[in-house]
């Protein structure tokens, strides 16, 4: 695709642990388009966070990464630390899950905000930097910004800290923002506010956002495109509308049916639970990772080699040998 801003090509991430190799991510190929919000959905252990930590060079030391992450014509995975430092924080920024621990408790907000700005561009004067930081804080709706700017992280509430994190990530006007479960640690009312801010900022600045989450609802509310991950692979990728209106992969379908929703009409309606447990990534299944839990699996096919991610229709990709999984499951539901 021509307008991809960040392309992952066959990304594989393995972690060496004392109890064996953890095969966290196994060949992810995915494009982040310009000016879109790409949602990455998956349960814990699906490799969704690792996939996006890798291009930022933030994985633990025991990780081996293969494949490519192409940004601006460069493979980020092959860059030297100094070269990578010129990109991360300026062109690609990241916001993390737990705003409590992601801010250094020993340093004031002023120091932590200004360091990213002034390190990358030493020509900015201290006053100029301060002005820009305070303006940014005001942009993310932090009240009394110039006073807050002088405080320490522990003096802020959880929602404010996350807004501060977003402000910090956007200071250098990045082209890509990777938000790793930015609202998981927060209450719903705060979550709504953060998601709205992200959406507004994306439109305002024309940047691309990767929104990593486990919550299908968050994706449906916010994202333009969605990739569903399971067992370290992308199982389905489509536009948000396409995915929620006609999910193709049995896992996506099952996940949607298992997700409790407020708007469902039947009270105390039974959820369709997915039987079994997520795969153990030390010994991942040889074929499709969802095979042991899949209601439409074909023995002898699905458990031999993982299905490739193929286009089902325009902008809708699915990794499943069964092309009619959707119909089968729909019929089963009605019976």
């Amino acid at each position: 695709m021509s307008n991809a801003i960040l392309s992952l090509r066959d990304l594989t991430i393995h972690f060496k642990t004392p109890d064996g190799m953890v095969k966290a991510v196994n060949g992810v190929t995915l494009d982040l388009q310009e000016q879109e919000i790409l949602g990455i959905v998956g349960e814990s252990g699906s490799g969704k966070s690792q996939t996006w930590m890798a291009p930022m060079g933030l994985l633990a030391d025991n990780a081996t990464v293969t494949g490519q992450a192409v940004f601006d014509g460069q493979n980020l995975l092959a860059l030297k630390p100094q070269e990578l430092n010129k990109i991360r924080g300026t062109k690609i920024s990241m916001v993390f899950q737990d705003p409590m621990t992601c801010l250094n408790p020993y340093l004031s907000i002023a120091v932590q905000m200004m360091e990213g700005l002034r390190f990358h561009d030493p020509s900015i004067s201290k006053r100029e930097a301060e002005k820009r930081c305070v303006a940014m804080l005001e942009r993310v709706a932090i009240p009394d910004a110039s006073r807050r700017f002088r405080q320490y992280p522990h003096e802020l509430s959880g929602g404010m800290r996350q807004r501060l994190m977003i402000a910090m990530a956007l200071l250098n006007d990045p082209q890509v923002l990777i938000a790793d479960e930015p609202t998981t640690a927060l209450d719903v009312t705060i979550q709504a506010q953060i998601l709205d801010i992200l959406r507004e900022l994306q439109r305002e600045r024309g940047m691309s956002i990767v929104l990593i989450t486990h919550d299908l609802g968050v994706v449906a509310e916010t994202c333009d495109r969605v990739a569903v991950m399971y067992g370290g692979r992308v199982q389905e990728a489509a536009t948000a509308q396409g995915l929620f209106e006609s999910p193709q992969h049995p896992y996506t379908i099952a996940l949607m049916q298992a997700t409790p929703r407020v708007e469902a009409d039947a009270e105390t309606q039974r959820l369709a639970a997915i039987p079994g447990q997520p795969p153990n990534m030390r010994v991942p299944p040889p074929g499709c990772a969802f095979f042991p839990r899949c209601p439409v699996a074909i023995k002898g096919t699905c458990d031999v080699s993982p299905p490739p991610l193929e286009a089902r229709r325009d902008q809708h990709f699915c990794a499943c040998y069964k092309s009619d999984a959707q119909q089968i499951l729909k019929e089963a539901e009605h019976v």
């Binding site: 509430s157 506010q193 449906a220 099952a254 409790p260 407020v262 708007e263 469902a264 369709a272 447990q277």
Partner: protein, 338 residues
Amino acid sequence: MSEAPSKTNPLLKVSNLSVHFKQGRTLFGPRPALRAVDDVSFDLAEGETLSIVGESGSGKSTLARGVLRLLKPTKGQVWLEGQELGGLSGEQLRKARRHMQLIFQDPIASLSPRRTVEQIISEPLQTHYPQLSGAERREKVADIMRAVGLLPDMRNRYPHEFSGGQAQRIGIARALVLEPRLLVADEPVSALDVSIQAQVLNLLADIKQERKVSMLFISHDLSVVHHISDRLLVLYLGQVMEIGHAKSIYERPQHPYTKVLLSAVPRMQVVGREKRRRIHLNDDLPSPSAKRAGCPFASRCPVATSQCKAEMPKLTDFEGRQVACHFPGIALEGEKAA
């Protein structure tokens, strides 16, 4: 104070329950107490599930522990099957615990790490039915393990060898083995992944149906609650905002806080999301130990008046439920006129 309820009355009756925590002293005298739960009353009928929802810091877990008398309430009474728990001696209370059980949020942490599954599940039996023989006990444990979807072969394993969902089943088995009348589930699925969460929710729904237990289901997640509750209690800073039938609250919330809460829940509908307005709150949750005279929600409420800030509204009947608001049913900005 109300009279002790008779046998025909609800299984659980909580009246004016308050749990305050002392917070030590400063140089200038005692700090204000943290009012975790403030004057909460509700009933729970036999076989009914009442969900308590609220954001973090709303006092949901404290309320659960106050009801179970794991914390000593500052004031108020709790009747279980017509028996006032506050009037019981330590030993009587210990015996009465057989009828009420607790399920925890963090499934693995709630299991003693150095005991096997069998020891964990049979401990309540040993405590309350010491006359049972070892074989009888083993049999009961095997039965209950099968009932919650565990193989009895796993009885000699340790908690750390289980996944979260399995560990939660063990916790449920431990709670059920005494066949309690009241089950208090404190965020039982919020630590679990969606696919496992649905398994455990279904299990709880089955238990409710087949065993006729009453359940207090505590959660911050309105979508989860939607699938399990008969009635709903919305808690904010330790006080009841709205209480009533779940279905009607979901369809037509009357308290501004409930409205805000429901509007904030993300929905799995892409079409029309641009038009859907989420009501923003103007500030973060105030400290539960801060002094306040009026409605606890007044500081964040989009339609609060000076009356709200000065005077705490009473919980009054409104459209088939109880709402604690001076202006129940008031429309918020951006909300479609009903």
